[in-house]
């Protein structure tokens, strides 16, 4: 099964997306549904709006809010998770609160955040950071608690100090699960970025899409959706690429040892 | 090729599972014991290559031919890595030979026939952990559309036949290893196969359990008049169980020798294993299997 030559595998991977795109092109070419304009029109509009026009600047506030919120929330989450791991009393004490905030669907907080902090980008960043914190925190905690006792004994036997143990033993041991937590955080962050822009903002990709929808500029809306899809996909792939690089040892040991999960 | 040994056991050997149902096997009526022209299983010129045409091409079986008559107990022995499991997979229809043929009752195998049962070494994975023991045994009966009251009865009967009490509501992983392999054997016997293929079935249990299971399989075979092919790396086990032994050479495998085991139908662990004939056979087999 794995014996196919390289070109054949490439062809296999590519033909279906190409066929689907072509099908979209052909099927929409004569479409007179207001919701599904011809793909050709969407691409024309894309060039007008995003290449020649000013729409591309809408990406800047979105990406800025997202990166500040996601990175801030992740750092908070990982540090918080490490702290909860280190101090069991704190872990037990905060358990119900942390758990509640973790399972609370974060977008539900949006109206309250508006009431608390008013409109503005700080609020958007804060909301994204807030949503990103909990998956990162709980996965960090779980990952660190799951580190093999034998590894601690080994570290002790080698005379590692506690900081060094954390850095060299706990962090690498917990990193696959921390990465899984950060991936969940990224997904929540993207949702919160778009929703906050849709509900209460004057700029950003979410605002652009909803604004176009409100004035019934469907083709323009489609370009926004495509851009958002591409940006979201690119972010996810960038994250996966980074993860694969940093966790190469982990993926390697798993590929030999067992099933991919 | 040596002549198959006579069918052991009493004339009412068909009555394993206790309901006296007549077994439907054409060759049995026509040929009876020793019908060389109607073997249950006929392996001719079997050759098996993995990853053919690629850099990691590997020949598992070079050339293997033998046939097995109705009612025989044949053991296949060979050193580790001699392609024994591959051979059994080809004999059961789980794998297709690269060339050569495997015929079961005259038909060339394309899948596992309904009349063939397979018992695997790894009972822990072969028994489905999500089903109770009872449901595990029930599954092949459902697949064969056996009516429900009959199925319930048969589950009881085969569990009794393998010496297990009421474990049908328990899960396999709640039992000891030996008991799990008994359940696996019961599951295979439940649909009354004509041919039982076993791949190192006792390799993963402790020595005492192993003796018990060997005697169990001898009894089952005698009571059911079933044909058994058992693959093992343990030559003592092969001599103790078999009427005939197929000795394979190392990788890629070929048949080194096929020899009769004239120890008669009745065997017991202590007596048989210490008999002169047993020891002589053992010495001969060792000389075949040991690398020179």
């Amino acid at each position: 099964m794995t014996g196919r030559p390289r070109w054949a595998r490439l062809l296999l991977a590519v033909w279906l997306p190409v066929v689907l795109l072509a099908a979209w092109w052909v099927a929409s070419a004569t479409s007179d549904s207001p919701y599904f304009p011809p793909l050709a029109d969407i691409l024309d509009e894309f060039v007008d709006e995003w290449v020649l026009g000013d729409a591309k600047w809408q990406l800047l506030p979105s990406l800025r809010n997202l990166s500040v919120g996601f990175v801030g929330g992740s750092v908070l989450g990982v540090l918080g998770g490490a702290l909860l791991w280190r101090i069991p009393v704190l872990r037990r004490a905060t358990n119900p609160i942390v758990y509640f905030l973790y399972v609370l669907p974060a977008p539900a907080l949006l109206p309250a955040m508006i009431a608390l902090f008013g409109l503005g980008e700080i609020r958007q960043m804060a909301l994204i950071a807030f949503g990103a914190t909990w998956p990162a925190m709980l996965n960090t905690l779980d990952g660190m608690r799951g580190v093999d006792e034998v590894k601690f004994d080994t570290a002790r036997a080698m005379g590692f100090g506690s900081l060094r143990t954390v850095w060299q033993v706990v962090l690498p041991g917990a990193s696959p699960q921390i990465a899984a937590g950060l991936r969940a955080s990224l997904q929540v962050s993207i949702i919160l970025m778009v929703v906050s822009e849709m509900v209460a903002a004057e700029e950003g990709i979410g605002y652009f899409i909803l604004e176009a929808q409100t004035v019934f500029a469907i083709t323009t809306m489609w370009t926004g959706i495509l851009v958002l899809a591409v940006v979201g996909t690119a972010l996810n792939y960038a994250f996966m690429g980074l993860e694969r690089r940093m966790l190469a040892w982990h993926h390697g040991s798993r590929r030999i040892g067992g099933v991919p999960a | 090729m040596s002549s198959p040994s006579p069918l052991p056991g009493s004339p009412d050997a068909n009555d394993l599972i206790g309901d006296g149902m007549t077994r439907t096997l054409g060759t049995a009526a026509a040929g009876g014991p020793g019908a060389q022209d109607h073997p249950v299983l006929d392996v001719q010129g079997l050759h098996k290559v993995f990853n053919a045409g690629r850099p990691d091409e590997r020949t598992a079986i070079d050339e293997v031919s033998f046939s097995i008559a109705k009612g025989e107990f044949v053991c296949v022995v060979g050193p580790s890595g001699a392609g024994k499991t591959t051979l059994l997979r080809c004999m059961s229809g789980l794998a297709a030979p690269s060339s050569g043929t495997v015929r079961f009752e005259g038909r060339e195998l394309t899948a596992v026939p309904d009349e063939v049962g397979v018992v695997f070494q790894d009972y822990g994975r072969s028994l489905f952990p999500w089903l109770t023991n009872g449901r595990n045994i029930d599954l092949p009966l459902r697949a064969r559309k056996v009516p429900r009251p009959d199925r319930e009865k048969r589950v009881q009967e085969v569990l009794e036949a393998v010496g297990l009490g009421h474990v049908e509501r328990q899960y396999p992983w709640q039992l000891s290893g030996g008991m799990q392999q008994r359940v696996a054997i019961a599951r295979t016997l439940s649909y009354r196969p004509d041919l039982l293929l076993m791949d190192e079935p006792f390799a993963s249990v402790d020595a005492q359990t192993r003796f018990d299971l060997e005697d169990l399989i001898l009894r089952v075979r005698r009571d059911a008049g079933i044909t058994v092919v058992l693959v093992t790396h343990d030559i003592d086990e092969a001599i103790y169980l078999a009427d005939r032994i197929v000795v394979l050479s190392g990788s890629p495998s070929r048949v080194r020798e096929i020899l009769d085991v004239p120890l008669g139908p009745d065997r017991d662990q202590l007596g048989t294993r210490s008999s002169e004939e047993f020891l002589a056979l053992r010495k001969h087999l060792l000389s075949l299997v040991m690398p020179r």
Partner: protein, 269 residues
């Protein structure tokens, strides 16, 4: 006496924190650090919650959110199991579809929300479509992993026993893949709740998210109600996560990870 304290102690520390948080909430709001139009007091919020619990409005909203969550997840799960099992069994089809699945899995479901609102309106169908779209892609990947990770001994055994077709799928393939499917469902369930709230908040479908927005739009006097509804949203999260945990324990009781967790399970081997 001693046993009472022994059993009560685990709940003591978290209970105390909860108390501190509630009292702290009351302190910062009642003292005027936050104005009532920013953050209502704890007592106001809880009395609003008490009042809301007696209204059909709240329970209708909870029902609508749960309905969207459940229907969306079921649709996604059924489709993912059928498609995933088919792809998992066919190498050529899988290699063809893999890139499409990877791309769609990476697209944030939220991107299609405006389009879905436009086509389907502020309806249950809109919510269900969004949730099903968001849950399907990660789920189908898990199903494929699960089917492909099937132990060769398990599939050999099924063939040797003559178990084929639909029976094989139901009795062997699905249970064998179920640990992967369960993990996928657990993750999908959390994101489905988020998407349900978003569909209500942005798309205007009936449900808890829409009620939160209504309360906010009703002005300062309704703020305690808004927070009460947020608490209810969190309670929904706890309920669904907990329900999933119990369901997984029950459905997967045979799996190595769950053995001996339940009652009276004999130790394996």
């Amino acid at each position: 006496m001693q046993t009472v304290t022994r059993y009560a102690r685990p709940a003591l520390v978290p209970g105390a924190t909860l108390l501190v948080v509630l009292v702290g909430w009351q302190a910062v709001t009642a003292s005027g650090l936050f104005r009532p139009d920013q953050f209502p007091t704890m007592t106001d919020t809880f009395s609003a919650l008490g009042a809301a619990l007696g209204t059909a409005e709240l329970w209708g909203a909870v029902g609508a959110t749960l309905q969207g969550w459940a229907v969306g997840l079921v649709v996604a799960a059924v489709l993912a199991i059928v498609v995933g099992a088919a792809l998992g069994a066919n190498d050529l089809a899988l290699r063809s579809a893999a890139s499409v699945i990877e791309i769609f899995k990476a697209i944030p479901a939220i991107a299609i929300l405006p389009l879905v609102i436009l086509v389907l309106g502020s309806t249950l169908g809109m919510k269900v479509f969004l949730i099903a779209f968001g849950a399907f892609w990660p789920l189908v990947v898990q199903v494929i992993y699960g089917v492909r990770a099937m132990d060769p001994t398990v599939s050999d055994t099924a063939r040797a026993l003559g178990v084929r077709g639909l029976r094989r799928f139901v009795a062997v393939t699905l249970p064998s893949a179920s640990p992967y499917v369960a993990t996928g469902l657990r993750i999908a369930s959390a994101s489905a709740l988020i998407l349900a709230v978003v569909a209500e908040l942005v798309g205007g479908a009936e449900g808890i998210g829409r009620r939160i927005l209504f309360a906010r739009n009703a002005g300062v006097s309704a703020y305690p109600t808004m927070y009460a509804y947020i608490l209810v949203a969190g309670a929904l999260g706890i309920l669904l996560t907990g329900a999933f945990f119990l369901l997984e324990r029950k459905g997967m009781h045979w799996h190595e990870s769950q053995r001996g967790v339940g009652t009276g399970g004999l130790k394996a081997r």
